[in-house]
């Protein structure tokens, strides 16, 4: 494969570069490697593909706008299959490779946390584009993320639903770390605002038949449903809800936001309301240019996941640029911690100086006639 021979060439170049290390730094281009661990095979490979696409696009942009003088930056992708065991091996590989100054990934929180222990011990900055487990960032000062935790999104959606007049809501959430935190933060915020929760229904990952849950919810007759799941399950849920004629309107967390949802769910998706950090119809020129180029290059509209990865890589590259070609893992970490007002396609991102959590803005969206649109 072409990528393999390129990688082999890159490694040989690296070896040659190390051997010639006695030359003064200014005369030599330093090879800086960013490790990217992501699922390129297995059940989550479609997410990994999207991350890789977005990352490549961002790297192209970076080079086109001048890159970093005195250094050549490459991204090294490794397939973790979203499996903790594989990911830990990859993490060790990255840690051992002296040219890797920072790592992006992984996809799910559990895997990101499993490798987080390794990066923490070795002192390698790690930025995950999607790990939203509240404990992830507490592992050590080396962990970063550019995705909002549910601690922020839950109350946002709770306030929205209360504004719309909903008083009794049922929550359906996926039984994983993300779903748990999403459901709890929403439920607590909703109750704090005076609403009541009829029940929180957790379903094990992989389940696609929600009719039992829908029937159970129907019995309790809530006036709204809040979903904490991904778009594949969401599509099934919405279709089955239509089949069983459950009338309560549906709100969802931003995880449901994806073009594919519209195709998969057909007419059942009309009327869905959800929050999102990434809106492709956002007139902001940065967003538009990203959407246009992504669609041109890869033939599909970018999803929120693409936007997240695009920004994640962008944040790391910006931090590297700030430090310069002599960047090390320590200096990169400090630069990342100081990220303020990074203009990303998923919103302006700032890392809190205390907790390193990102602060972003969320938008409210609704689906009408099979299209997403933003509600002011």
């Amino acid at each position: 494969m072409i990528r393999n021979s390129l990688r082999a060439l890159a490694l040989m170049a690296l070896a040659a570069g190390v051997a010639l290390g006695s030359l003064p730094a200014a005369a030599q281009t330093r090879k800086i490697v960013l490790g990217y661990e992501l699922p390129l095979s297995g059940d989550s490979s479609h997410y990994g593909e999207v991350f890789r696409n977005a990352a490549d696009l961002m790297l192209e942009d970076f080079k086109a706008s001048g890159g970093l003088p005195g250094a050549d930056i490459v991204i090294r992708y490794e397939d973790s299959k979203n499996d903790a065991r594989e990911a830990r091996n990859i993490a060790q590989m990255f840690v051992d490779d002296k040219s890797v100054v920072g790592v992006l990934g992984d996809f799910s929180s559990t895997v990101s946390m499993a490798v987080g222990e390794i990066y923490a011990k070795a002192g390698m900055p790690q930025l995950s584009q999607t790990a939203s487990h509240p404990d992830f960032i507490k592992i050590s000062k080396w962990q970063f993320r550019n995705v909002t935790t549910q601690a922020y999104e839950g109350p946002f959606n709770a306030a929205w639903m209360r504004e719309q007049g909903h008083a009794k809501v049922a929550v359906v959430a996926i039984q994983n770390d993300w779903g748990l935190s999403a459901a709890e933060s929403f439920a607590n915020a909703f109750k704090a605002k005076g609403g009541s929760i009829t029940s929180i229904e957790y379903f094990n990952p992989g389940v696609r038949d929600f009719r039992s849950i829908l029937t159970k919810i129907n019995r309790a007759a809530p006036d709204g449903i809040y979903l904490c799941m991904f778009y594949e399950e969401g599509a099934s849920f919405l279709e089955q809800r239509q089949q069983l004629r459950v009338a309560a309107p549906v709100f969802a967390a931003s995880s449901l936001y994806n073009e594919q949802l519209l195709q998969l769910a057909g007419s059942a998706v009309d009327g869905l309301m959800l929050s999102s950090t990434f809106v492709p119809t956002n007139p902001d020129p940065r967003v538009q240019s990203f959407v246009t180029r992504y669609t041109e290059k890869y033939g599909q509209t970018p999803s929120q996941f693409a936007g997240q990865a695009f920004d994640a890589v962008g944040i790391v590259l910006a931090a590297i640029k700030k430090v310069g070609p002599t960047v090390t893992r320590d200096t990169l970490r400090d630069a990342l911690a100081g990220t303020t007002d990074y203009p990303g396609v998923t919103g302006v991102t700032t890392f809190d100086p205390q907790t390193r959590e990102p602060a972003k803005t969320l938008a409210r969206m609704i689906v009408t006639n099979g299209k997403y649109s933003v509600i002011r």
């Binding site: 397939d79 091996n89 499993a114």
Partner: protein, 345 residues
């Protein structure tokens, strides 16, 4: 390696004296490998080596119950998970040290194994296999949903690394050496069980349990013991895993992992302990070695697995060959002129 034929001739004994062979293996495991890996530097290879050792314990324990005793168990990862969670909870909630959590994890897994074995012992072959599949899945569901006790999908974080009576360097080398020591001990124990008259009894139960019963063997008790011991070692592997990983979550202990372990045993040779070791090493190291295949890696692995089973259905080191090897090379057979290799020492 037809032992019947060579029994008639006066064959030479082992090419290397058994004691020397064992010493060589020990030196390889405890000196050559760590020195080589330290010299190459970096934690990656140590990581792979430690994982290989843990899976060697898992594959050998599955081999004990499935290969030697003939009880196909599709829920092995569940007991691995029980061991890991037991060790994690004991060390994070009660602050017990590694020397305590390791055996306790094994005992926990073994106890659950015996509990599970008691009602299901009347089942034969495929029925028993499905029952173990069900039990493995039930264990996963409990780990996932009993959030109060196990933290559910959040997993357990911050598990302390291996410490020996307060000494806790936490380096990959140290972890490797401790895991290697435990692996060597476990393998020795399982070898003593499998390559002895007790092992013969298990094999008899496997081949024809009604005959074994007629011969006076307590079949039910043997089966339960084999299952319990195998789960004990799975628990030990789980404890090792959780202390070297620092973070565990329920999705690492699903049916797919049970199938992985079973694949290691079958590829290596069902019923053969060295075969299980080889199978585990192969199926852990191969995916790492094939990383350059990129997107085609899993296809390559599946094909290699298929080819190895196709070309060597009895396993890379099948049972007959392995037993023969052990009797001859390791001197576990009856002493004397090695002309007859009947019977264990």
């Amino acid at each position: 390696m037809a032992s019947a034929v060579s029994a008639r001739k006066n064959v030479s004994g082992p090419t290397i004296p058994p004691a020397v062979l064992k010493a060589m293996l020990a030196i390889f495991l405890f000196i050559i490998v760590p020195v080589a890996l330290s010299w190459i530097g970096g934690g990656y290879l140590f990581q792979v080596a430690t994982t290989t050792l843990i899976f060697i314990i898992l594959a050998s324990s599955l081999n004990l119950v499935t290969g030697t005793a003939g009880l196909l168990s599709l829920g092995h990862a569940g007991f691995y998970g029980i061991g890991a969670y037991a060790a994690a909870l004991l060390s994070t909630r009660l602050g017990l040290s590694f020397l305590a959590t390791l055996p306790l994890a094994g005992v926990a897994a073994g106890a659950v194994g015996v509990l599970v074995a008691l009602p299901t012992m009347r089942l034969v072959s495929i029925y028993f296999a499905v029952a173990t599949l069900g039990i493995g899945e039930m264990i996963y569901v409990i780990l996932l949903n009993w959030t109060g006790f196990t933290h559910g999908p959040m997993g357990i974080r911050g598990i302390p690394p291996i410490d020996l009576l307060g000494w806790q360097p936490g380096t990959p080398l140290f972890d490797y050496l401790v895991v290697a020591a435990v692996t060597a001990l476990s393998l020795w124990a399982m070898s003593r069980l499998m390559h002895s008259y007790y092992g013969n009894a298990l094999r008899a139960v496997r081949e024809d349990d009604q005959c074994a019963d007629a011969m006076g063997l307590n079949v039910v008790r043997l089966k339960i013991e084999a299952f319990g011991v195998s789960c004990f070692f799975a628990g030990i592997a789980g404890a090792l895993f959780c202390h070297t990983a620092g973070f565990i979550s329920p999705d690492q202990f699903r049916f797919a992992e049970s199938i992985n372990i079973l694949a290691m045993v079958v590829v290596g040779g069902l019923g053969s302990l060295p075969g299980a070791v080889i199978g585990a090493a192969l199926l852990i190291i191969l995916p790492e070695a094939l990383r350059s295949f990129g997107d085609f890696r899993m296809i390559a692995i599946g094909s290699i697995m298929f080819l190895s089973i196709l070309l060597q259905p009895k396993g890379l080191l099948g049972e007959a060959s392995a037993l023969d090897l052990l009797r001859r090379q390791f001197g576990q057979g009856w002493s004397g002129n090695f002309a007859t290799r009947v019977g264990w020492r």
